[in-house]
C-alpha cells in the first residue's frame, strides 16, 4: 500500500474508551478549526494546554464543560494519564507496522550491551553500578588523579616553582609601584591567584571531570540513569526527565537552570531550580571538593551523604509545600555502546573550551575586585563581618577569605579552601564543615541572574534568602554534632 493511498485519518484505531470519547468530543465541537476534529479531540485527551485554551475560547465554557466530562469519563478507565495510553498505543501500532516492512539481517546491538543497558535501569543492580561509577569515575579519577596528581604537578611544581616566581621577579623588577605589584603578583594577584586558580587548579579538575562526563554521555548511560531515578524523583515532585538539568548541573548550574524549561509544569521547574541552586555542585566545585577531601575518605562520605539528604529532604518538603502532582515520564532509550574516542575527546575539548572561556575572565575580575577592596579597605571590612559566621562554623579566621570568594563563585571559594588545606590551616572536621557549607551556597552571581530571568525576581530573592542562612545553619549543626560526638576525620 503506497503512502498516498494510506487511510491517514484512521491509521490508528484506539481502544474503545478512547474512540468513544473522541467521537463524543467530535460531536460536541461546533467551531471551525484548521485541524481535523479527530485531531483536536485527541489533543484534548492528551491534555494539550494550547489546544485546550483555543477550544475553550471558541466553544465557550458550557460546551467545554461537556468536553471535559467526556475526557474525565475516558480517564476513569485507566490508571495512567490518557497521554501515556495514547502514546503507548501509537508505539504499538508503529512497531507492528515496522515489523511488517523492515527486516533486520541480524540483531545489531550486542547481547552484552543490551544486558548491561538493562541492568543499569533495574534498582537492584543499577544502584550498585551507579555507586561504582561515582567511586571510580568521580572519586578516583577526578578527585584523586585530577585534583591530586595533576593539580600537584601544575600548581605546586609548574606554577609554584617556575612560573609564579619568574613572574613575581620580573613584575617587581619592572614595575616599581607596590599597589600594581600587589594587583599582579600579590597574595590575591591576577597571576598568583586568578590565573593560577583557573589554569593550575580548576582546569585539570574540570578536564578530568568533563572527560569522565563525556565517556558516560557517549556510552548512553544517562538515559538509563533517568529511568533508574524516576521513582525516587517522583517522591520529590519531579520525574526522570529532571535528570537532564540535574546531570547538566554537575557541569554548570547556571546553564542547567535554563534547561529546567524542559520540565512540564511550573511546579517542577521551581523545585528543580531550587535544588540546583542549593544542593548540586558544579563541575569545578565538585572536583575541588573531591580533591580537598580525597585524603579524608570519611569526611568525603559524610559530605556526600549530607548533600544527598539535603537534596531529598528539601525536595520532599518543597513538593509538599507546593501543590500538584508530578508529570509522567516516558522516553525511548537509545542503545548502549562502547564510547567512541573521537566523540569523547571532541566533547571534552568543547566543554573545557566553553568552561574556560567563561571562568577565566571571572577569575581575573575577582582578583581585581579583591585588589580594589584591599585598596579601599572594604575587603578587610567584609572579612571582619564574615569572621563571626566563620567562628560559628568552628573555623579559623583565615577561612573567612575562602567564604568571601565563595560569594563570587562557589568554585572560587572551594579553590580558596584547597589553598588553606595545602597550608595545613584546616583539620578534617573543619574541612568537612566548610565544604558542606560552601556547597550549599548559591553557585554564583550568574546563577542568581538566570534564576531571576527564568523564575522572576521575587522567586530568585526568596531562594537566595533561604539558601544562605540554611547553608550556615547546616554547617553550624554539623560542626556541633561532630564535636559533641567526638568524630575524628
Amino acid at each position: 500500500m503506497s503512502l498516498n493511498t494510506f487511510p491517514v485519518e484512521r491509521a490508528i484505531t484506539y481502544p474503545p474508551p478512547i474512540e468513544e470519547a473522541v467521537e463524543a468530543i467530535e460531536a460536541t465541537l461546533q467551531a471551525d478549526y484548521t485541524l481535523s476534529r479527530r485531531a483536536i479531540a485527541l489533543l484534548l485527551l492528551q491534555n494539550d494546554e494550547e489546544i485546550e485554551g483555543m477550544v475553550r475560547r471558541r466553544e465557550g465554557e458550557e460546551r467545554f464543560a461537556l468536553i471535559a466530562e467526556h475526557i474525565r469519563r475516558a480517564q476513569a478507565h485507566y490508571r495512567e494519564p490518557l497521554s501515556m495510553v495514547i502514546l503507548a498505543h501509537r508505539q504499538k501500532v508503529a512497531h507492528a507496522l515496522a515489523q511488517e516492512v523492515v527486516h533486520y539481517p541480524l540483531k545489531t546491538a550486542s547481547g552484552f550491551a543490551e544486558w548491561l543497558g538493562r541492568i543499569c535501569m533495574q534498582p537492584l543492580t543499577g544502584i550498585p553500578i551507579l555507586l561504582l561509577v561515582l567511586y571510580y569515575g568521580l572519586y578516583q579519577f577526578v578527585g584523586v588523579f585530577g585534583g591530586g596528581t595533576l593539580v600537584d604537578l601544575l600548581e605546586n611544581k609548574l606554577f609554584g616553582e617556575y612560573i609564579n616566581p619568574f613572574l613575581t621577579h620580573w613584575v617587581k623588577t619592572l614595575i616599581p609601584f607596590a599597589p600594581i605589584q600587589e594587583l599582579l603578583v600579590g597574595e590575591y594577584g591576577i597571576f598568583t591567584l586568578g590565573i593560577t586558580y583557573a589554569v593550575a587548579l580548576i582546569l585539570p579538575i574540570v578536564g578530568t571531570f568533563f572527560l569522565m562526563f563525556s565517556i558516560l554521555e557517549d556510552s548512553g548511560y544517562f538515559p538509563r540513569l533517568a529511568m533508574l531515578i524516576d521513582r525516587l524523583f517522583k517522591k520529590i515532585g519531579l520525574n526522570g526527565r529532571a535528570v537532564i538539568p540535574m546531570v547538566l548541573g554537575f557541569g554548570c548550574d547556571t546553564m542547567a537552570t535554563l534547561v529546567t524549561r524542559i520540565l512540564e509544569t511550573p511546579r517542577e521547574r521551581l523545585i528543580a531550580t531550587f535544588l540546583l541552586a542549593l544542593a548540586i555542585p558544579c563541575s569545578a566545585q565538585l572536583g575541588v571538593i573531591m580533591a580537598l577531601l580525597a585524603s579524608h575518605p570519611g569526611a568525603l562520605l559524610i559530605w556526600a551523604v549530607t548533600l544527598a539528604a539535603v537534596f531529598l529532604f528539601i525536595g520532599w518538603l518543597t513538593a509538599k509545600v507546593l501543590p500538584g502532582t508530578p508529570a509522567t515520564f516516558h522516553m525511548e532509550i537509545p542503545p548502549m555502546r562502547l564510547p567512541i574516542l573521537s566523540n569523547v575527546l571532541t566533547k571534552t575539548y568543547a566543554r573545557m573550551h566553553w568552561y574556560f572561556r567563561e571562568v577565566f575572565p571571572l577569575f581575573i575580575l575577582a582578583s581585581v575586585v579583591i585588589w580594589l577592596g584591599q585598596m579601599t579597605g572594604l575587603f578587610d571590612l567584609a572579612l571582619r563581618v564574615l569572621t563571626p559566621v566563620v567562628h560559628l562554623l568552628g573555623l579559623p579566621d583565615e577561612a573567612a577569605s575562602a567564604f568571601l570568594f565563595g560569594f563570587f563563585r562557589r568554585d572560587y571559594g572551594a579553590a580558596g579552601l584547597y589553598h588553606l588545606q595545602e597550608h595545613n590551616v584546616l583539620n578534617g572536621r573543619q574541612l568537612l564543615v566548610s565544604a558542606v557549607t560552601l556547597t550549599l551556597f548559591l553557585p554564583c552571581i550568574a546563577q542568581f541572574l538566570m534564576m531571576k530571568k527564568e523564575r522572576g525576581l521575587k522567586t530568585a530573592l526568596a531562594i537566595s534568602g533561604i539558601i544562605f542562612p540554611f547553608a550556615v545553619t547546616v554547617g553550624a549543626i554539623m560542626n556541633l554534632l561532630l564535636q559533641v560526638l567526638g568524630v575524628r576525620l
Binding site: 544517562f222 534547561v259 522516553m331 566533547k347 568543547a350 566543554r351 572561556r357 530571568k453
Partner: protein, 67 residues
C-alpha cells in the same frame, strides 16, 4: 547532530528554534536537542576543520586511485 541523551538526530537550525527567547543569544555555544532538551557543546571550529580536511583528503585519494 545526534543528541547524546535520547539519540535524536537534528540539524543545528532546529536547535536554534528551541533556543529562541533565551537571553544568552547563542553565547553559550551549546546546542539543545529539540526532543528532550539536553544540551551539548557545539563542535569546535578546529575539529570541524580537521573533519573537513580528512574528508577532502579521502576524496582526493579515492579520485587519484580511480584515475
Amino acid at each position: 547532530m545526534k543528541c547524546a541523551f535520547c539519540g535524536y538526530t537534528y540539524e543545528e537550525d532546529e536547535s536554534a528554534l528551541v533556543c529562541q527567547g533565551c537571553g544568552l543569544f547563542g553565547g553559550c555555544h551549546l546546542t539543545k536537542c529539540p526532543r528532550c532538551g539536553y544540551e551539548q557543546p557545539q563542535e569546535p571550529a578546529v575539529v570541524q576543520w580537521l573533519r573537513r580536511w580528512r574528508a577532502k583528503r579521502a576524496i582526493d585519494s579515492a579520485n587519484r586511485e580511480r584515475s
